[in-house]
């Protein structure tokens, strides 16, 4: 209830200011940043820690911080279309386009620029939380097998256990012919090194 009362008070104050400033270039944008609890709790960003959240108007023209209840306020803003950005480590906020019109002061039209969604009231919520680190995959046998060392071992196993089988399944005639050929070329025969290769 209290924040609503304060909002009303602010709205009243702002209209009062608009009138009192006289020159016609003082409007007030007030809004609220809401970071849902639970979002981002698994990361490093401290949930509910709002003291480091900055709200930035027009790429750095005005920088302000949040009150404990999440409200923020820009004062003495000329009429026009403005851009509000919220920066908070751990969250991704879409910039917001805010139209401040001279005709009906106090009425603020806002839309998220990322997805062009209109906002009925200026409550800014993060689109998603940001995970800055890769997550280490838990140890699995597959990762070892896929590593260069694993491949080496795997290849060796193939050579040791499958090659003899292949050699065994070959036709003895063919084998002999192949060996003859190799001997003629003077190449040291692979088969003779292998167990079972020297059988014939």
């Amino acid at each position: 209830m209290a924040p609503i009362a304060r909002l009303l008070l602010l709205a009243l104050l702002s209209t009062a200011l608009t009138i009192s400033s006289g020159s016609g270039d003082g409007y007030t944008i007030n809004g609220r940043v809401k970071i849902p609890q639970g979002l981002g709790t698994k990361g490093f960003a401290l949930p509910g820690k709002t003291s480091n959240v900055k709200v930035i108007l027009n790429g750095g023209q005005i920088v302000t911080y949040l009150r404990p209840d999440g409200y923020f306020l820009f004062q003495n803003i000329p009429a026009g279309t403005h851009l509000i950005e919220v920066t908070a480590i751990g969250y991704f906020f879409s910039p917001v386009r805010v139209d401040v019109s001279a005709r009906n002061p106090g009425k603020v039209q806002a839309a998220l620029t990322e997805n062009r969604r209109g906002l009925s009231e200026l409550v800014l919520e993060p689109l998603r939380d940001e995970q800055y680190y890769e997550i280490r995959e838990p140890f699995s046998i597959m990762s070892v097998v896929k590593s260069p060392m694993g491949l080496m071992v795997g290849f060796m196993l193939v050579v040791v256990f499958l090659m003899p089988k292949l050699v065994e399944n070959m036709d003895p005639e063919e084998m002999r012919r192949a060996q003859e050929e190799m001997r003629n070329q003077g190449v040291p025969s692979l088969a003779s090194l292998l167990p079972g290769g020297g059988r014939n």
Binding site: N58, G59, G60, Y65, G80, Y132, R136, F139, L194, P195
Partner: protein, 984 residues
Amino acid sequence: MAIRSFFLFILFFSSSLSPVFSLYEDQVGLMDWHQQYIGKVKQAVFSSQRAGRKRVVVSTEENVIASLDLRHGEIFWRHLLGADDVIDGIDIGLGKYVITLSSGGSILRSWNLPDGQMVWESSLQGPKHSKSFLLVPTNLKFDKDNVLVVFSNGRLHAISCIDGEVLWKKDFEAESFEVQQVILPPGSDLIHVVGFAALSQFEMYQINAKNGELLKHESAFFSSGFSGQVSLVSTETVVALDSTGSILLTISFQDGKISSQQTPISNLVEDSLGPAVIIPSSVSGIFAIKTDAVTIFIRVIGKGNLEVVEKTTHEIAVSDALSISEDQQAFALIQHASSEIHLTVKLAHDWDGNLLKESVKMDRQRGLVHKVFINNYIRTDRSYGFRVLIVMEDHSLLLLQQGEIVWSREDGLASIIDVTTSELPVERDGVSVAKVEHNLFEWLKGHMLKLKGTLMLASPEDMAAIQSMRLKSSEKSKMTRDHNGFRKLLIVLTRAGKLFALHTGDGRIVWSYLLRSLHKSEACQSPIGLNLYQWQVPHHHAMDENPSVLVVSRCGPSSDTSGVLSFVDTYTGKELSSLSLDHAVVQVIPLPYTDSTEQRLHLLIDADKHAHLYPKTSGALSIFKREFSNIYWYSVEDQNGIIKGHALKCKCTGEVADEFCFDTRDLWSVVFPSESEKTIATVTRKLNEVVHTQAKVVADQDVMYKYISRNLLFVATVAPKGSGEIGSVTPEESWLVAYLIDTVTGRILHRVTHHGSQGPVHAVFSENWVVYHYFNLRAHRYEMSVIEIYDQSRADNKDVWKLVLGKHNLTSPISLFSRPEVITKSQSYFFTHSLKAIAVTSTAKGITSKQLLLGTIGDQVLSLDKRFLDPRRTVNPTQLEKEEGIIPLTESLPIIPQSYVTHALRVEGLRGIITVPAKLESTTLVFAHGVDLFFTQLAPSRTYDSLTEDFSYALLLITIVALVAAIFVTWRLSERKELQEKWR
């Protein structure tokens, strides 16, 4: 050539689209470091809380408010306000709120002292601009509500400390009234506002603090006028100087009656001193005046009798008064003596007696003491102890207590002007080297631990041991050059005129040097550092010389004041020499030539458009004469919207014969129509950028030739109306024009208009492309565009095999008179954030693919693969294009959280990003600076030429052992089998 091209092909295929920069949480701090600063302290307030940790709250010239630990100097919390939100005053209210007044007294904020959460914010308006004052009375109450008194913009406000509501306000609308002091005596509820009106009228207003009612208004006329500030010597007396600065006016307004007394300074001091200024202080009964050479402390006795208590020619700094008991005030005084500073703490009414007198050894590189803040504590024997916080000339902050420096902070690093790098010494016998690995057993043990970590077998203690072992690795912080070129010195120039050398391994300060040439002197009133250049980079002939840097500075803010050059050795941090120039320095052009001792030639252009060659040696001159006709440069005149090209003409025709001075001539000029275009950004390629190949192989085995020229300039102009902030202009009346200009011929190679767009423009130029960031008013989003420029004159050499075999025809003529046949390709994309800085990675040979480094408004650095900004992207790329690595076109550029280079850190107040190539081709070093500093290594195409840091040597060893064992086992097995076969 062929091999190189082959390498290039491999690179093309090996690169993949997944975010390249990605980090595991336990890798934080391995290759990166982050340092937090606050800037030069303007004001410090000590928290008087009894319980909990002692704190001091400071405001700085970087617009930071921070709460520091008084014991160690660490930051509890810190907030950076906007660039225009300059802090006018801070104080602590009710012992638990930090109150800040900023933006010329128009924004008042309250922050929670323990955690820095903002509590409330209110905006204070007023009829006109004025000085602003923030008073936090301890016992002024208004309906049980503590009250703050703020004078700003010609209006006095009383504000509730709890919620920032304005309780009452009182305008001071008199046209010429200039407020000088707002006084609220403790225990009283009368506010005195004193000031000058119409230059010679002294005005005093007495106001009821309860309701803002004006009780009294008195004024007095002083024919001699006033100058400068006033000093408050008691709650009812101020001292001012007359307009000539030679007569002291003691004005008291006791009981609302103004009475005054005039005392010529010459009555107090025999010798005439010239005009003086008052140094404002808050010590009751004492004030100080300062002339050029002398500082004089004067005591006020009774009603306007003045007495000189001390006269000193030393540099001196005085703190504000500190109430230590009901009626006693203490203050601190610091005087310089050669290598020491003397701290004295005195009571306000007793000048001759010292409460405390200490001498502290002070590093000469810290310069003079600029500010002193005093705080007291109660010792165990119930006597008073004092500690002082001092701000030095180099912007560092130190805490002195019991004759020692308890802690110091190098806050000069918060305001870096320029950065360059230097190599470290080569490892030689004489050079001492930190012990690296102790013995094989230790090494193996370490790797076994790591292996345990990868196999997830490690206990938490083991994990901690692994982490500390990785972070401490002495390898990265050695003081010698390494094979991969990761270890370097970052040489930074700060606004205070101090040079620091930071080690890239761990960010520690290797040496620091306060430039003597940037000291105030007779000839040089307000020297400011401008730029840093590499002066001597020995690698071939002058191997024994130490490398050195050139610091260019000038004697004042305007560009026609004379310049100063200093040369500093980067190994020792000693100034080799310095030159006071008799000409101004408007532009410095490092030339791509070096003399016989590897000193780089620099051309300095002065205000009269003469060019001066440095170093002034005959060797340099002969090299320069040889290249005389090949030297061109350009200049940008922002106000007039003119870009001019220049070349050298002949020797100076002045009366003094100076063979190192040359006349210049204008070659061309581009004039932008001032009614429709205003230049807001100009960018060229980095001078030391290396481009590996001019050819780009596209999908169907065609070759495109990049138009690579060092003389390309990117210029962005906007409609004059649209040069303000976002929201000040409609899309119809704003446009942005981008140009590519050849700076030798002045020819505009490309021009493109973005309707409905406006600045600010951040751009980066590399190889044959430029990427720029601007605001699109129609979509109301930021946009990034890329322009790539290709050479068409060699378009017939299209065969990729000719290129690979080095048989293509390179002999196409280049002439200034023919228009270069170029084509440009461009494309635009939406981008979410505002930018503060943009840079591109650079590597040793330029083979590795490029990444853009974007400094976002949230003070983070995002890396974005250049392939996302490829004008050949289409919505549906063909199979061939996909193979080449072209990404399907999307409306906006992706933001992948894992590709934030700064991961979960912020480089608060980010201003610049610098990339330096390492020797290893895959790796580039990135340094981002602002109020904070951040450094890391990046591998834009992953580390294809080295093993990663987490490579497990132990696993490799185990595999080899296992393989050897397996060979033996199988050998035995096979032998046995053979034997059995033979027996059969």
